[in-house]
């Protein structure tokens, strides 16, 4: 089992998710884009290999896309974390 990523103290209403198999606890209501940022990961790798994270955080730019519960290319800034969510950066 990979090591959990836990930079912050446990939030008041914690929910558990995984990002690239690493367990992470986030506050309920956090967006998936925020969870990926807390994990210190880029959301995706660009076509020329650059790491990318959210640019607009409002569903326009698609830089925050990642695979969530088996569905690729979800706009993670528009998506709230749910218990047990499995997130994979792209």
């Amino acid at each position: 089992m990979p090591e959990p990523i836990q930079p912050e103290p446990t939030p008041p209403n914690p929910i558990r998710i995984t990002i690239d198999h690493h367990p992470l606890t986030v506050e309920a209501g956090s967006t998936v884009a925020v969870a990926i940022a807390i994990a210190g990961l880029p959301c995706r790798t660009s076509v020329t290999g650059e790491p990318r994270g959210p640019l607009c955080a409002m569903g326009i730019c698609f830089e925050c896309r990642a695979t969530v519960n088996g569905v690729a290319h979800r706009r993670t800034c528009q998506l709230l974390c749910e218990p047990g969510m499995e997130i994979f950066t792209q």
Binding site: V34, C56, C61
Partner: protein, 440 residues
């Protein structure tokens, strides 16, 4: 939040649940219309009234009566449909939208488009590094739970939002190192109540609810380069002519706003290039577009800010609800607000030096990683699209279109469905009305 998805036909359908959409939906429902309010965010409020995680109710820091309008909406008969992204109109008076893995059609007698605005991003070396994001974007991330306590943040670009977001970030415990506003002192002077260098006073002058801000505010200043390897670690700023490198964890940078006109354009509403060559939806005095039974309110008709958006929403809602006389009583107020908005747009006009920021190696189209060097040899948006795939990625030119419009004078036109990359299952769904799942 409970939502009802039945019925899927509405007398008045409103797209966008920001201030203009909330005012429009509420006003139409109060006038007796059966109203659906369709929005692609998880919750009400659009960008500016987005609720902060851990708090109940909307963000009231921008003013505009956020709580008043939210309560009025919740007390009305409006059917709220959150999390739906509109991506097509399969037949007249019908929009097709996707939510999670389901698609559904929503038909209407009258449509009010309140699709808001997005930030304008301009390319400069290093702007694609992680943790370089928009100004409204970092505010949205903080509202979405991003911890910024103790983080060093530089805010750059242009517009009233820079000051407003600085206040939010400070409240969240961030160290806002400085604000670099590209507009000159002289152009902002008409909006300053007294001390031009006092950000709170400028905010007040811009008719924002004044906030306490304790941040160095530099006019005639802009970013030259974001530096770092896997994320931004410093930014090179041009501060009133001198160059300074400033260490930071985040660079929040955006150059005011551009109207979201894609859906209006797809539905055949006439778009014109008005103030500062900005594309905006053409409306008459009752917010009616050139397309039959379609109204438009708020930022898509031209960037005018929160108060004007609310008023336009009210006018559109009342007119759609059959109360045109009542709507007309609001017209003098709108006229004065529009004048203010025009002055504001002029004050934040982008300076031409910003056109020299990208080098040939700077990526302009982030979806397809097309550099400025490859783009600028082409004569038009269309030619560049065909030869470089610029604007053909998932964002469909929403980011690079506004950038090339400023940098190269191109007109990023031609909207085609699907407006967003939709799931194949949604696109191939032949059922006229796919039943959406019961919402939470």
């Amino acid at each position: 939040m409970t939502e009802s998805i039945q019925p899927k036909h509405f007398q008045t359908l409103v797209v966008g649940a920001g201030p203009a959409g909330i005012a429009a939906a509420t006003s139409a429902a109060e006038a007796g219309s059966r109203v659906g309010l369709l929005d692609d965010n998880p919750d009400l409020g659009g960008q500016i009234w987005r609720t902060q995680l851990g708090k109940s109710g909307p963000d009231v820091s921008h003013g505009g009566g956020a709580e008043h309008w939210r309560n009025r909406l919740l007390a009305s008969s409006v059917t709220r449909l959150q999390g739906w992204s509109v991506f097509d109109h399969p037949e007249p008076q019908t929009l097709r939208a996707e939510r999670h893995e389901a698609a559904a059609d929503f038909s209407y007698d009258q449509l009010i488009l309140a699709t808001g605005a997005r930030e304008r991003f301009l390319p400069f070396p290093g702007w694609t590094l992680p943790n370089v994001m928009g100004v409204g974007a970092i505010q949205a991330m903080v509202k979405g739970g991003l911890p910024v306590r103790g983080k060093r943040i530089v805010i750059a670009g242009s517009g009233p939002l820079l000051l407003a977001v600085a206040a939010t970030l400070q409240t969240a415990g961030a160290v806002v190192v400085c604000i670099a506003e590209q507009a000159s002192l002289a152009s902002l002077a008409p909006f300053a109540l007294s001390l031009i260098t006092d950000p709170a006073k400028i905010l007040q002058g811009l008719r924002y609810k004044a906030a306490t801000i304790d941040v160095p505010f530099h006019t005639s200043s802009w970013p030259l380069e974001a530096r770092g390897t896997d994320r931004v670690t410093s930014v090179l700023l041009s501060l009133q002519g001198r160059t300074e490198e400033i260490r930071c964890d985040y660079l929040a940078c955006a150059f005011h706003l551009v109207p979201n006109t894609e859906l209006p354009a797809l539905l055949g509403c006439r778009i014109e290039h008005g103030v500062a060559a900005q594309a905006a939806v053409v409306i008459d005095e009752l917010q009616r577009t050139s397309a039959p039974n379609i109204f438009c309110a708020g930022e898509p008709t031209g960037i005018g800010g929160l108060e004007l958006s609310l008023l336009e929403g009210e006018i559109a809602g009342l007119a759609a609800g059959g109360q045109s006389d009542k709507a007309r009583r609001l017209l003098p107020k709108r006229k004065s607000m529009s004048r203010f908005a025009a002055r504001l747009a002029k004050a934040f006009t982008l300076r031409s030096e910003l056109k020299t920021l990208p080098t040939d190696a700077t990526i302009v189209c982030r979806c397809e990683d097309v550099t400025f060097g490859r783009l600028r040899s082409h004569p038009s948006w269309r030619a560049a699209k065909l030869h470089t795939r610029c604007g053909m990625g998932p964002c469909q030119g929403r980011v690079c279109g506004a950038a090339t419009s400023f940098l190269l004078g191109w007109n990023a036109d031609s909207v085609r469905p699907p407006m967003f990359p939709a799931l194949i299952s949604s696109l191939t769904s032949t059922e006229k009305s796919t039943a959406p799942p019961n919402s939470d």
